[in-house]
Amino acid sequence: MDWDIELIGEILVSAFLVIGGLFALVGSFGLVRLRDCMQRLHAPTKATTLGIGGVLIASMIHFGMSGEQISFHELLITVFLFLTAPLTANFIAKAYLVYRVEESDLPPTTGKYGWAIYHDPPKDPADL
């Protein structure tokens, strides 16, 4: 049995494609299945990001094997998505909390000021 490099590359590409597809599917499925908006926020921000990561790694290996040179620019999309996923999740959570959740439903803060969307930041800079 000869394990040539192309076969290993092909197995790796296929494996990453399947893993990526599975995670993306689970992330989108969570969006349909879970009950309320805060729960739904969990599935896409994590699973879908890793799903894209898997597919992009597959693309990197594929073009690295077949092309004349190694291709790294897929890393840019991965890094970009990993940096922006928390930001969008945070924004969506805030947009949901402003309209649907009262401050009394949330646990209290540990300091003397309340949560940021219900209260203005302190005037006194010493408290910041």
């Binding site: 969570g30 291709s71 959570a93 909390l97 300091g111």
Partner: protein, 163 residues
Amino acid sequence: MIKRLFPHPLLSLMLVLIWLLLVNKITTGNLLLGVLLSFIVPAVTEPYWPNRARLKKPLLGFEYVAVVLWDIIVANVQVALIVLFKPQDKINSQWVTVPLDLTSPEAITVLAGTITLTPGTVTAMLSADAGCLLVHCLHTDDPEAVRDEIKHRYERRLKELFQ
């Protein structure tokens, strides 16, 4: 003089790297163009960032990234299992308040992003005086353990890194 030319040395380095990744071909010309961009962009945008983010021990950053990447993979498997197999009424979601010891805005931003990307937790909000974070937990029976793990695993490392 060097400080005038490179107000943000890390930003300049990142710009060269990103430029090379974007064109996806490492030649002398591309490298020169990247270096040129790394002069121009920080110089033009300098008024918008008066303070430089300070890293005390930059090498610890690599350890932090490795820990977070591993946690992201574990987190994804956990969340996938919860989404697929846990009955809906058994999913016990809770709010957790995480008091912060970090003070610099950059460190808090990194911590909040890390919490969102790692096991079953999403950062929802910061308190008005930036003293604690509101974290939503997809499934937990023990909110205190979640809080302690965040503080121990991520905040401790970030504190060494930034302060």
